[in-house]
Symmetry: C2
Subunit: 119 residues, 2 copies
DNA sequence: CTGAATCCTTTACGATACTG
DNA sequence: CAGTATCGTAAAGGATTCAG
């Protein structure tokens, strides 16, 4: 992504938010993050059930990207039938914590426009 | 977006983060938000210069969506040549504040993988 | 069970030209 | 100056099938 030019900044100001947005930019990533949050290690099928609507392909590719970004740890046990468990790295936990104020903001606006949304 | 099913939640848990992600989901929205942050009201052309790379069409549509989401306030002065000024609403300011920890996280990982990125 | 492979659809975004 | 209108593209995601 690009950086921002603000009059005060002689050079491009590294706001950092763009980096974070790239990491959580996928359609389901924050949901996966949330699913992994403060829970035990989760298996693939478990995650698939926890994030209803996601397809296997997208779940798999998102998990791979998140692993590459260093926020998800993948542990594969050499068994049959195969067993793979996913968890958060330290960076993933910190990311999740950093997401909490944003979640609070979202809950706030949900309540504010809540009265209508419920038939 | 969907909500999350965690074993503990009997019903879909409203994590709120999905709501926030929809609001800031556009490719340039956080940058626009950042540009509007703690500054004076900004004019359209000013924003276009502050967010290099964005096209007029996308800037306009993003601004309209952000206004509809209640985070941006648009004031149009009936002059010629036309003058329009954009600023953040209270909700917009709170959203920006809620984004700060995420930005800090981004800066942190930038530094961590920083040493290589500089030729 | 955990995926990879393939094909298809959607849509957000980009480029350009034009207008009150 | 502050946009709108059109058109085109690329990338993300969805549906389905197959495999170790």
């Amino acid at each position: 992504m690009a950086t921002l030019n603000r009059p005060g900044d002689g050079d491009g100001h590294l706001c950092g938010i763009d980096t974070a947005m790239e990491v959580i930019g996928g359609k389901w990533k924050v949901l996966i993050l949330w699913a992994l949050h403060e829970g035990p290690e989760r298996r693939f099928g478990e995650l698939r059930r926890m994030v209803p609507g996601i397809t296997e392909k997208v779940l798999a590719s998102h998990l791979r990207e998140m692993e590459a970004d260093g926020i998800v740890r993948r542990v594969s046990y050499d068994e049959v039938p195969p067993r793979v468990e996913y968890g958060l790295t330290k960076a993933g936990v910190r990311l999740n914590d950093a997401l909490e104020p944003l979640a609070a903001w979202g809950r706030e606006v949900q309540e504010r426009r809540g009265p209508e949304g419920a038939p």
